[in-house]
Subunit: 343 residues, 2 copies
């Protein structure tokens, strides 16, 4: 990164994403806008439907801003959903109590061309949030990584063993590669829309990266992520990309070396000493407090936070959880965390 650009960065999160080490590490939380907040639950009820909440710009913006007002994280993450992409490719989507439901895609079923207009409200939400955010606060956009989005599209929801989507990969790798390519192009368009509207960095959620064999990880996680990052860098060379290959385990190092991401999100299971030696030596790391510790609060949380900062604070580090905030987390624990991280 040229010195001139680096000098212009003032927001803590962007400075760390550019490789700086800060003594007060910036922080945000995955799913920081969500059910643990009473003001979120009120708006969610008013919206009636989860998709309505995502696609009504004033509501999505409000929900995005709620945790920032309360806790002053260093970054807001746009309130949205990774499955808006398959929806804009024509797949029917609904949210039920036990998670998202899609009409499962058959092998080689044709998708319609991306309807970018269906995603336009997301851009409007971004613009609203950006206008309302404090000057020090970074706005993060996001999308699902192609593999993870494909799992939902083929399985029709979450899965225990991913046997449908993996059978597709193995039986018809060329057909599956075409699906991944379609998702990748749509994702590039979706993230470009977000960046043009004002997000300053993007995170790729690869929540089911851990379901693959190492060969599958190489082909369906590393390859498409690398291509997507290259596409983003070509259009937006100054926008950093955070990759979160949850459950990657022993494949984390390969992901960090090969994909071109600027930062890697560590899931809860990653040992911080290994993360320091094998990952942070190459790129910025983010994570990985156990969300259960945020739910529990008190001395166990405080001690784990101190240990994390001790282990990773000597290099470029963004404090976060290792997975999303649990819905029954007391907001007071997040307030306590904010105090701990304020110096």
């Amino acid at each position: 990164m040229p010195g001139k650009t680096a000098k212009r960065l003032t927001k803590p999160l962007l400075r760390v994403l550019a490789g700086e080490t800060l003594s007060r590490q910036p922080w945000w939380l995955m799913r920081q806008a969500g059910r643990y907040l009473p003001e979120y639950r009120a708006l969610r009820e008013k919206a009636g439907d989860f998709i309505t909440l995502c696609l009504t710009p004033e509501m999505a913006a409000e929900v995005t801003l709620q945790p920032i007002r309360r806790f002053g994280m260093d970054a807001a993450i746009l309130f949205s959903d990774i499955l808006l992409v398959p929806r804009a490719l024509g797949q029917r989507l609904s949210f039920e109590n036990d998670g998202p439901k899609l009409e499962p895609l058959s092998e080689n079923e044709k998708l319609r061309p991306l309807d970018l207009a269906m995603l336009a409200p997301v851009g409007e939400a971004v613009a609203r949030v950006r206008a309302a955010l404090p000057g020090e606060t970074t706005l993060i956009g996001f999308a699902g990584a192609p593999w993870t989005v494909a799992t939902y599209m083929v399985e029709g929801g979450t899965s225990r063993d991913f046997h449908r989507v993996k059978t597709y990969c193995y039986r018809d790798p060329a057909g599956f590669a075409a699906l991944i390519e379609t998702i990748s192009e749509a994702t590039l368009a979706f993230l470009s829309l977000q960046i043009e509207a004002g997000v300053e960095t993007v995170q790729l959620f690869d929540s089911w990266a851990g379901a693959l064999s190492a060969a599958g990880f190489e082909r369906w996680v590393v390859g498409p992520t690398k291509q997507l990052v290259a596409g983003l860098k070509q259009r937006f060379p100054r926008v950093p990309v955070i990759g979160f290959p949850r459950g990657a385990g022993l494949n984390y190092e390969r992901y960090a070396v090969a994909t071109g991401v600027d930062a890697v999100g560590l899931d809860t299971s990653v040992p911080v000493n290994l993360a320091r030696e094998r990952l942070q030596a190459r790129l910025t790391v983010q994570g990985n407090l156990d969300p259960v510790l945020l739910r529990v609060g008190g001395p166990p949380m405080n001690q784990a936070v101190a240990e994390l900062r001790q282990a990773l604070g000597a290099g470029p580090y963004i404090f976060n959880l290792g997975h999303g905030v649990l819905p029954d987390t007391p907001p007071e624990h997040v307030a306590e965390l904010a105090r701990l991280l304020s110096n």
Copy 2:
């Protein structure tokens, strides 16, 4: 291991567990006795109930032997269930369509002393299988590792985020340690019963090892496993122990170094090149074909099998899957695998 003992070993699986490298690698499959076999489904229906099937010695023995007759694996694994241990500690257990159900344990709830008589039929099944097995075939016993058994006991079944059991760990580590100790003692008794009845090696299934932070992994997986292995070695110094910390990811190396197991089972996600360098250099490895490839069969399976044997065959290696056989796997694919592995 003293030379005299090593010389007496003739069964391929036991030779590899003692550290030998064989040109024809021994194999067995996790959940090789199970729903993909029509003869299993017939007996399961006759038994009516899953627990009856486990605890009726002639039935459990028959189900254990079914895959050996068809496919001639190098090892039979006793048909049983890891949750027989909580049941023998007084917890009510049933099996429904979506998996096991236990009455969830409250924090610091007292368990009754282990009723070893409830597990006696397992010993009878072992004796029957041992008497019927071909001379070259090893009989494997097993139990759940204490952490994994504790997750079922506290959550009441399988879980998505393990927040109940992890909240217990964090809020009351001393109380949780007492629960783990109770489970460990019961597990040692259960495995001793199996060994005395005739199993020649045991596998510890730690299916939910990946749900923990590295600190939790150290305390609740590494510590109790080490203690259990030491207890087994004291009583049965010649019985090798296989550990399977599924999802351990970057914690695999620590597990291999610190627990004292003779062999480690690799889950599907583990890259074989790293397994060779970091794990097989220290101990025997076992795994890790994607069960979906066994379901798919044909050239994709054949190629992956050849690659696995190529990558790990130069050291002590037991061929297996990275997780259990999927219920809708065609038995012909297992027959094809047996042919591939016959030389």
